[in-house]
């Protein structure tokens, strides 16, 4: 689905003033809907939101600043083909004045944390190929660009399918030497662990 993350002029606030809240019920739904409707171009019906927040309330988070909802992430997880248990980030929004301060990263991280604890093997999402902010955010978290989807969005823009693979138990025995030649994506998984 869609992600919005661009660096623009920021509102003055301290990171500690941001309150992160897990989805708590129907009263949160209009807040999420308003944020997403404002910022994203794909049209979602209320049923789309309900599908995600009813079935996986523990995976959706909101960011509040002085009582105002300034960001949200909406996700799901479930069995995928090849019987992989997979998390999916459907929507991510932070309103313009609050961007560039790590709020989106924090929202996403919290959701991924729950996914990991719930036994997910990987997390995926789609992002427009032109959305540099989102691509940078997820890139820092260790997502790779698994596929390119031709003309995925209604406006004709291509999308990347981004994927984060969680290390699996059988990998735990591998010897991670600090050899410079052994540059592999697995190093980035360890980073994610440390961050969490």
């Amino acid at each position: 689905m869609e992600q919005v993350q661009e660096k623009q002029r920021t509102e003055e606030f301290d990171a500690s003033e941001i309150e992160y809240v897990s989805y708590g019920g129907e009263h949160h739904l209009p807040l999420i809907m308003n944020l997403v409707d404002q910022e994203l171009s794909e049209p979602y019906s209320i049923f789309t939101y309900r599908y995600f927040v009813y079935l996986w309330p523990q995976l959706s988070f909101m960011a509040f600043h002085k009582g105002k909802c300034v960001g949200t992430v909406v996700c799901k997880m479930g069995d995928h083909r090849d019987s992989k248990f997979r998390g999916y980030i459907a929507m991510l929004v932070v309103i313009k004045p609050y961007r560039g301060r790590g709020i989106a990263t924090e929202l996403v991280t919290r959701s991924i944390q729950v996914m990991m604890e719930s036994g997910c093997e990987e997390v995926t999402l789609e992002a427009e190929v032109t959305n540099e902010g989102a691509l940078a955010l997820y890139g820092r978290l260790g997502f790779i660009r698994a596929k390119r989807l031709f003309r995925y969005y209604l406006n004709g823009v291509d999308a990347f399918r981004l994927k984060l693979l969680f290390p699996q138990p059988e990998m735990a025995d591998r010897d991670y030497t600090q050899n410079h030649d052994d540059h592999s994506p697995r190093e980035e998984y360890s980073e994610l662990h440390r961050h969490l």
Partner: protein, 574 residues
Amino acid sequence: MDRHALHQPSSSSSIPATANTVWTDASPLLEVACKDLRDGELIHVDNFNLYAAMSALEIMDPKMDSGIVNRYCSVDEAIEDGVAPVPISTDKTTDVQCVIDIMDHLLTCEATWHKGHSLAQTVFSCAYLLRPERTSSHALLHSYCKVIRATCKAVITVVSDARTHEEEDLFTMAYGLPLSGDGDEKCLSLLNAVEENISRQLRACKAPSSKRKPLEDIEPLQTNFDLEEGYCKALLCRLRFRKHFFHVLTCMRRPQGRGLELARKHIASCISELGVILKSAEFLMSNAHGTCEDATEDRTTASGHQAIGFDASLNSRISAPTPPRSIKILSWKKAIEYFEKLLHDLDIICSYPLDPSLEVLLRFVAQFQKAQPDLVARAHLQLLLVQDGKLYGKCPMFSLIIRAARLPEVFLHHDIQKNEYVVQLGQLVINMLKILCTNAAWQRRKLGKILQDWRVIYVQIELAFRKDFGEGSSISNGDNASARILKHILIWVEEQTYWISHRFLILGFELELYSPSEYCMVYWYLYVVLIRLAEKTHLKMTVSDGSGKYTSTSCMFCFQGQWPELRSKNVCVV
């Protein structure tokens, strides 16, 4: 949900009752139901869940409901309202100017459609096209509409015959649209008649008055004598472009590539006419009726005037049941650029000498794809390569495989071609060729998937080989022919598998899938794949020639083929 949307007053229904349906206003019932529901409750049947509800469209939400954003309930209502007058104007000069605008706008719609938008919202947003019989009194407009419909139909046929089901699903949707107008196949003869007439008008206006005989009294195209030559020329290049373009499509569809040479001549004519069309802009802009509305680069006509008779919402009711897509019609200049590129790409296809060597073919396709050809060109290539299960409609897959495996031609008629795995291998080659003609994103995904199939067929053939011929790996002349064929094929299958892997990896660069931190990993894989590829090619050559003479050249050849791409990324492979 916005409940206020339901408080519409029950207006007298504009939908008349028919034999089987009577309409009634359900708003009061829905209001009562809404009052009874609490936030978050949903009325649904047993097998309808929230996942299914996601595909639901909110009626009367303009972001979702394609049917709501139109002025007219039907095309006929629009026509009654005067959206598409025939003739466009009683003043012949204005009429001609408007027809040229329509022709130009149709070109931009056509290019927009090719680029991936729906036919209904682009080309068939033209009311004149939607009611073919209405234009019959206007020879110029009528013949032009016919050739447009026939062209669209030909292009749709090519794309749906290619059947790769990538992005063309939207492209080929044409239900409810009058694609097959009555007598559209005869469009060229009608067009020729009109062209001939205008040519005479052009000659007549250029002839000095003393030479004009009263018997040759041809009615001029339009009323302003000073502008006659300019308008005749503007029309002629547009008509000729359409004629030659239609010929290109019919020639290229001739089986076994028989029409390619002739197609090239028509392509050259098309490109030449496009040049004349572009040059006509100056004349058309300076003589446009009324003030010039739009002289910017965004304009969809040469004159800058908005074309009459177009309304994208006319077909909203027969559009797909998805949310309305925003369509930005290409500018006139961009449309011409699109067609120039399309014709250039088609010309490359037409000039390909239909080489029976798979290696040459693969290199051609890979090179062709670098120019990022669009769907229409790629579909044409695919249909040329694979016809009736044969290469170019003439070479059976088995002969292609024999040559690719560097086996002598004497084996071309060997019975082993009936072996089930050899037949399957032929299918894999066909499938691979089709995939190589798709867009890069789709292509890479599919290539990744077929690697498995190529590995499986290798194992199957190897097992069959072991079963029939035991473990012996030496081949000498006079030995069992089947054994020799299978042995060669096995080497070639491995070589081809590595080639597919290599293409899979390289496409990742074009698609921007790799971040710089991953380059080392990708180059490492490329290095391994290329070494193996070179080994297999080398082995294939030595086994077939029985000498070591070609070893070093074949290795170098392989690397030289792939090295430029690696070097252009400025990375040194260990």
